[in-house]
């Protein structure tokens, strides 16, 4: 198991987002669970008033018929008007792009946004769809059998761990 300093990656992400979206009237949407933590941090650091929208994309996943509904679905909640807004979608790890696709589909069911950008803490490669992040904390080459997981401790500090599912 390998641990990366998620706080350093987050500071890079926040700095890039601040630069990229200077002057934009952003509204944030985080993907459960790690994306919501990151979006909450970005909301403070980018001084955004609008509450963070929360998405649990379980109802939009393209693998429902294979893997079913996960047991702990949480409600999605976007309290602002999506129509015409500039949304920064936030997730922890970008890989195949399927979660982002599901999240965008769900956002459109709330209304037609003017624009969607994507911020991720880690782009680990392995894309299966033509999707790219606008800002990233780090780009890593990660073998397919390694999982990258974001956790948060009681002091709200973020931790990123890489674990080899293949065993030894």
């Amino acid at each position: 198991m390998l641990e990366l300093d998620a706080e350093v990656l987050y500071r890079t992400l926040a700095a890039r987002a601040r630069e990229t979206f200077a002057g934009a009237a952003l509204k944030l949407v985080g993907v459960h669970t790690g994306g919501v933590w990151l979006a909450e941090r970005l909301r403070q650091d980018l001084h955004i008033d609008t509450p963070v929208g929360i998405l649990d994309v379980s109802f939009y996943r393209d693998d429902f018929s294979r893997s079913g509904l996960k047991p702990d679905v949480r409600p999605s909640q976007i309290s602002f008007d999506v129509a015409g807004s500039h949304i920064l979608l936030v997730d922890d790890v970008l890989s195949t792009g399927r979660t982002v696709r599901a999240a965008m589909n769900e956002i459109f069911d709330y209304g037609r946004p003017a624009r969607i950008d994507l911020a991720v803490l880690v782009d680990r490669g392995g894309r299966e769809l033509p999707i790219a992040a606008t800002v990233v904390g780090a780009t890593l080459e990660v073998p397919a059998d390694v999982t990258v997981v974001l956790t948060r401790d009681d002091d709200q500090r973020l931790h990123l761990t890489m674990e080899n599912r293949g065993g030894e």
């Binding site: 109802f59 939009y60 294979r66 079913g68 509904l69 409600p75 129509a83 069911d109 709330y110």
Partner: protein, 323 residues
């Protein structure tokens, strides 16, 4: 594991036939998943793509506009294709057997049957038949005879949880024709499974089945006693046909003894809620001043019923991969 025909070999819900015998985590999962479907009704697009490409057949061998409609809305909001069969006028009326009807619909690529039948156990028969011939098919019981109405039971639990937050400190009184009520049976199983400490059945002796005490229910024959201190009152519909038998003298006399009026409601807790599975008989089991009053949560029950049925459908459809 004792074989429960509703569960697959991994213990997951494959059919919903009855609340009796379902473990508490499954009931809690339905309620939690329903939470996620509640918000969807407020969005611009009220559908999610979860059951896209799946075919849901509503098989109502007994009339019920409300239940059929809410099942249909639930299936459509999950993006399923919904087919309503007018059973009364179709092949069944021409003498086709129940299982032949099922086989024909399965041949039309059905994925899910929502079954309402006057005979207790009919959905079990269909589920058992499907398990052998079409194991991917799911059956949801939308009410069978006097036996069970599990989605009504679950939406009642959702409603109670919404207003009372927890089950562990509640007194719930079910009032009326318990004997003929599949809703009462499903509610009793759900309430005891979810840990409600005091479940009461209130009604005239002729409408109280034997064996309630063994189900963990306290029996009352006087309404005022039965609802005293209650947090939740579930009123049951008094079916008119009961009047024709010897069970009850008249609607007026029933109302005099068991009709819920504001004066009687005062015996319950001040913040008690009043529920009713519908359709209501105003002036028979419930006074209009109660039905339209602040304690009534009868219309929210209908709204919650859609989210709960969406949850049930998506959870049973999740088990398909395990077969």
């Amino acid at each position: 594991m004792a074989s429960n025909p509703q569960l697959n070999r991994h213990g997951e819900l494959h059919h919903l036939l009855s609340i009796d015998g379902l473990p508490r985590p499954i009931l809690e999962r339905v309620l939690m998943t329903a939470d996620s479907f509640i918000n969807i009704a407020e969005r611009e697009v009220k559908n999610v793509p979860l059951l896209r490409g799946k075919s849901v057949f509503n098989l109502f061998f007994e009339n019920s506009t409300r239940t059929r409609t809410t099942f249909e809305i639930a299936a459509r909001r999950l993006s399923a294709d919904v087919f309503n069969l007018d059973i009364m006028r179709s092949s069944t009326a021409k003498g086709e057997s129940l299982l032949d009807t099922i086989d024909n619909l399965t041949a039309m690529q059905a994925d899910m049957f929502v079954v309402r039948h006057a005979t207790s156990g009919a959905p079990y028969l269909i589920a058992k038949h499907a398990s052998a011939s079409a194991p991917h098919v799911h059956v949801i019981n939308a009410g069978d005879g006097r036996h069970a109405h599990p989605t009504q039971g679950l939406l009642d639990m959702y409603t109670i949880r919404h207003y009372k937050k927890e089950f562990s400190n509640l007194t719930v009184a079910i009032v009326g024709d318990i004997l003929h009520s599949r809703v009462a049976r499903s509610d009793i199983h759900a309430l005891t499974t979810l840990g409600v400490p005091e479940v009461r059945a209130v009604g005239p002796l002729t409408l109280l089945p034997a064996g309630l005490e063994q189900m963990g229910v306290r029996v009352f024959t006087k309404l005022d006693d039965g609802i005293r201190g209650a947090d939740v009152i579930i009123m049951l519909r008094l079916q008119n046909e009961r009047m024709r038998g010897a069970l009850l003298p008249s609607a007026q006399e029933y109302f005099a003894h068991y009709g819920l009026t504001p004066e009687r409601l005062a015996h319950a807790k001040p913040d008690a809620i009043v529920m009713h599975p519908g359709p209501m008989n105003r002036g028979v089991e419930i006074d209009s001043r109660v039905a339209d009053g602040n304690a009534a949560v009868i219309l929210p029950q209908v709204t919650f019923g859609i989210a709960v049925r969406m949850a049930v459908m998506s959870i049973v459809a999740s088990s398909a991969r395990m077969q």
